[in-house]
């Protein structure tokens, strides 16, 4: 069976719309940005190439792996399948915005202490997803953590230490809860 369904050239699918641009105003990690972009520009490319925040990674292009996870308007999103224009007027938190005053966020610290990363490529996405997940569920069970992170893929760790790290972070965050302001 022969088919012509394989078209490598269609990775970036919106074509022929390059002449017009749109203005995107967005607050990222507390900083206001205004940029003129093509309507087809993906949010992840906007964050990485236009804002220079390369901690948000691209792993799959199809929302399967979660390496590109950021927090947009309080929700975790996979930025590889959002357009930059969808972020207009919004607020985004990326991995670079998580540590404050040079101190690691408890989730970052827990990933370090529990050896929850090897190559580190999926790590920012996992940390951002864990950040959002622990806001929804501050005292999760192991099973709930596994379900909450099931949209993120890691090829190195086997997940065990990631689960452990998120559990440890949840405990530290709860212990510190009165002083945590959500940032």
């Amino acid at each position: 069976m022969q088919s012509d369904n394989f078209n490598f050239e269609c990775e970036y699918w919106v074509r022929g719309s390059m002449s017009s641009t749109r203005t995107v105003r967005v607050r990222v990690n507390g900083v206001e940005y205004t940029k003129e972009v093509e309507p087809r520009l993906l949010l992840v490319d906007f964050i990485r190439d236009h804002l220079g925040l390369t901690g948000t990674h691209i792993g799959c292009d199809t929302s399967n792996c979660g390496a590109c996870t950021v927090i947009m308007n309080g929700r975790s999103v996979k930025s590889c399948t959002k357009f930059a224009v969808e972020a207009d007027g919004g607020e985004i938190l990326t991995i670079e915005g998580l540590a404050s005053d040079g101190n690691l966020h408890p989730i970052q610290k827990a990933f370090w202490e529990n050896h929850a990363l090897q190559c580190g490529y999926c790590t920012p996405g996992f940390i951002m997803q864990a950040y959002w997940f622990l806001k929804q569920n501050p005292a999760p069970t192991e099973e709930e953590i596994r379900a909450g992170l099931s949209g993120n893929l890691c090829r190195c760790t086997g997940y065990q230490n990631i689960i452990k790290a998120v559990k440890a972070a949840s405990e530290e965050l709860r212990a510190k809860a009165p002083t945590i302001n959500g940032g």
């Binding site: 088919s3 394989f6 520009l41 090897q118 190559c119 090829r155 760790t157």
Partner: protein
């Protein structure tokens, strides 16, 4: 190395971590230094790198598995705003071929151009490249390249490709066989004549996509003034890429510098030199612009080399008591479209390791490597050894079931006994040192095996399909006598210790264990030691990072370099302290006199003196820099026992892994936290092969798995927490006594889980003959067993 201490069981009870054997950094679970940047998103991966004036490449790829290229028309492309240029095969006249095997009686080389000329041989083969000011424009432009193809008949199934009359992947060869070998040891015919039983089976080790989370990429920049090509690339082998690029592009080796930046996983798929490496480097020179290309995930799954891909026929001559008298094995390896060196390594390693931990005196192994219209095969975590472990461990399971034996007993009766080491195998290897029996005993105790069997009996009485699978594995590691690895140690005038290593990490975490080794040797705090890697300018030469060899080889090279530094610093300190250099001790940041510890000098004072000729003993050369190219005397062979408990849903066919226990013997351990991380990740990848992963093609060679929606890799839902411990039998074959752990879990987990599922299905009396064990396949086994209830 004390060889009399064979197997030391570490950890008194389940869950107790082995203790470090001496005070020092080696043996301690130190946190990794590189994590502080990675958890903050401050890594520098290939996709993150930018160079002034950089343009982007997009490749035009074949949509056909096999086709004649009738014409390529790129005239429309240059009209698109932002396009810099386009290259097709005819523009690459002066560029050499990609590596293939050297021809001999067994091997047939297959010439391969960086861009396909005349014929394309797999879907995704690069035909042209377009350069543009940004990636979006480059992708747009690639669409405008018109390639006229005349489709040819493709051959996809590896056994079909072996048949006479099959379409030929390369017309100049008379068949699709590109490698054939036979190795016979012992009297195989006699073994089969004496056998009480002959067990035959056909096993399929499916193609897998290594699929690191970071895809491949390259950024090439040519400095016309200095005549230097600088390449940042996702490579496991910077010096190898340097030398190959120099050869293919006709540049001096001194005119190419390769840097491997932070890498998001590799698993063997970033060893070989790819067409894109050559084309992007050439384009940077030709257009005098830095050129960058980063693979999409779709390109990664379809055009990055695949691992595994073997059909195995096994016949075992077995005595009534379960002793294996002989084996006949035929391995048919699916090389894909080109006979690359990596495609050949896999089946040859399988043919060396196929007898595993067992004392098998007579064996015949025949290997066919066969060309098909698919992307070439190459290394993937384990590279040939998972296929070997699968072959023998599945065979053991099937024999045990045939004889009604426990899978533990069949292994015990066939193990190479501990007193037989060093032991030469039918595959021609000499195993270093092992005590399989002790490791197995530890695994039985650790998993509470007897209790598990009781629980299984109870589950079966309730009608549940619970299975227990066992696999005992060994692998060849620490490559090897022919493949040295390098490291250099510099001590700066301020007493900082800088280690440059030839091996480099893509997740393994080389920094920390290498620093642990060097800090212990020099008696300094680990914070004083920094480790750098991945740049051909750092060291004169290096071999690749692969095969679980970094601790054994890079670690030994770093240790030996540190020893040389220590020797030189002792001479300097002996002058400063007016002591005999042979009685000096390096500890706590000081150099002491052993006989009079009050005589001491700070490590950094000795370092400073090394740069001041007037402070040196006569004849001693200033500076502190020592280099070692470490060559081991032979390979090392870690081993272990894994036990999985699974449950199969007889109505849906779904498999759930309930428990997973692993007891590995990887020799001495430098950093137990990192080692356990390797075990977890390795087991997960082995489970991926057993349960969900498979590169699929249709009959015409169209890839059916093109994204992570189709090519499934394990998620948080795949396995429960792994319970792991170890026995410790240090190898005498390197100064650290380490063996290697990177691939261990992957090698063991696949047969362990498949054996468990076969055990779960024992009431149906079926042989699991393929992977992955998805629900539809399990249901078909149950339904076709003739014992389906209801």
């Amino acid at each position: 190395m004390d060889m009399s201490a064979t197997s030391v069981v570490v950890g008194e009870r389940r869950g107790v971590k082995p203790k470090p054997e001496k005070e020092g950094f080696v043996g301690k679970p130190l946190k990794r230094v590189e994590d502080l940047k990675l958890v903050r998103g401050l890594g520098g991966f290939i996709g993150d790198l930018k160079v002034e004036g950089m343009v982007y490449a997009a490749f035009v790829r074949s949509p056909h598995a096999h086709a004649r290229i009738v014409g390529v028309d790129s005239s429309d492309v240059l009209r698109l705003d932002g396009v810099i240029g386009v290259l097709t095969a005819k523009d690459l006249g002066g560029v050499g071929n990609l590596p293939t095997v050297d021809e001999d009686a067994e091997k047939k080389p297959t010439p391969r151009r960086p861009l396909a000329v005349d014929v394309t041989r797999y879907v995704g083969e690069a035909v042209a490249v377009v350069l543009a000011k940004d990636r979006y424009t480059a992708e747009d432009a690639a669409e405008l390249v018109r390639v006229d193809y005349e489709p040819l008949e493709a051959v996809v199934d590896v056994e079909e490709a072996l048949k006479p009359g099959s379409p030929l992947v390369h017309d100049h060869l008379k068949s699709n066989v590109c490698y054939h070998s036979v190795n016979t040891v012992g009297d195989v015919e006699d073994a089969f004549a004496k056998a009480d039983h002959v067990v035959s089976l056909r096993l399929v080790n499916q193609r897998l996509a290594p699929a690191p989370l970071e895809t491949r990429g390259i950024l090439a920049s040519y400095d016309r003034g200095n005549g230097e090509l600088k390449v940042w690339a996702t490579t496991q082998d910077p010096h190898g890429l340097r030398d190959t690029l120099a050869s293919i592009l006709g540049l001096p080796q001194s005119g190419v510098r390769v840097i491997a930046p932070d890498m998001g996983g590799a698993f063997g798929s970033k060893i070989s030199v790819y067409p894109e490496d050559v084309v992007v480097s050439y384009a940077a020179i030709r257009f005098n612009r830095p050129v960058k290309w980063v693979e999409t995930r779709r390109e990664n799954i379809v055009t990055t080399t695949h691992g595994r891909g073997q059909v195995q026929y096994v016949e075992a001559a077995v005595r009534a008591d379960g002793r294996i008298l002989g084996l006949r094995v035929k391995i048919i390896s699916d090389s894909g479209a080109y006979n690359t060196p990596g495609a050949l390594d896999n089946p040859t390693l399988t043919a060396q390791m196929f007898t595993g931990e067992y004392d098998i005196k007579a064996a015949r192994v025949e290997v066919y490597s066969v060309l098909t219209n698919k992307v070439p095969q190459d290394a993937y975590r384990g590279a040939g050894r998972p296929e070997a472990a699968y072959l023998i461990e599945r065979t053991m399971n099937v024999i045990a079931r045939k004889l009604g034996m426990d899978p533990i007993d069949i292994r015990r009766i066939n193990y190479i006994p501990r007193e037989a080491f060093p032991y030469t195998t039918p595959g021609g290897l000499t195993y270093d040192l092992a005590d399989y029996e002790a490791n197995l005993e530890r695994a039985l105790e650790f998993s509470a095996y007897t209790r598990l069997r009781r629980e299984q009996g109870e589950a079966r009485r309730q009608g549940r399909l619970m299975g227990i699978g066992v696999a005992t594995w060994t692998e060849i590691c620490g490559f090897g006598p022919g493949l040295p690895q390098t490291a250099a140690v510099t001590v700066t005038p301020a007493g900082e210790v800088m280690v440059s290593i030839g091996g480099h990490p893509h997740g393994q975490g080389h920094h920390t264990p290498i620093a642990q080794i060097v800090a212990d040797e020099l008696g300094v705090d680990i914070g004083r030691v920094s480790v750098r890697h991945g740049d051909t300018a750092l060291l004169p030469w290096s071999s690749l990072t692969a095969g679980s060899r970094s601790a054994a080889l890079t670690g030994s090279a770093a240790l030996l370099s540190a020893r040389k530094i220590k020797r030189k610093m002792s001479l300097i300190a002996s002058k400063l302290l007016d002591s005999d250099s042979s009685e000096l001790v390096f500890s706590d940041g000081f150099v002491y006199s052993k006989s009079n510890p009050s005589r001491k000098v700070r490590f950094e004072e000795v370092a400073d003196a090394a740069y001041k000729p007037w402070k040196l003993p006569e004849g001693l050369e200033p500076t502190l820099y020592e280099y070692t190219a470490y060559t081991p005397p032979d390979y090392v062979f870690p081993y272990g026992t894994h036990i999985a408990v699974v449950e199969v849903d007889r109505d849906t066919g779904e498999v759930e892994v309930l428990k997973y226990f692993a007891v590995d013997d990887i020799g001495r351990v430098i950093n137990p936290m990192l080692v356990e991380g390797q075990v977890h990740g390795g087991i997960m990848q082995g489970a991926g092969q057993a349960l969900i992963e498979e590169v699929a093609y249709d009959g015409g060679g169209q890839p059916l798995t093109q994204s992570f929606a189709e090519y499934l890799i394990p998620s948080t839902q795949t396995l429960p927490n792994i319970e792991w411990t170890r026995t410790e039998t240090p190898t005498p074959r390197n100064p650290l006594g380490v063996k290697g752990v990177g691939e261990a879990g992957t090698i063991a987990a696949t047969p362990t889980i498949v054996n468990a599922v076969e055990d779960a299905l024992s009431e149906y009396n079926v042989v699991v003959d393929r992977m992955p064990l998805r629900a539809d396949y399990i249901l078909s086994l149950i339904n076709n067993s003739g014992k389906r209830q209801n």
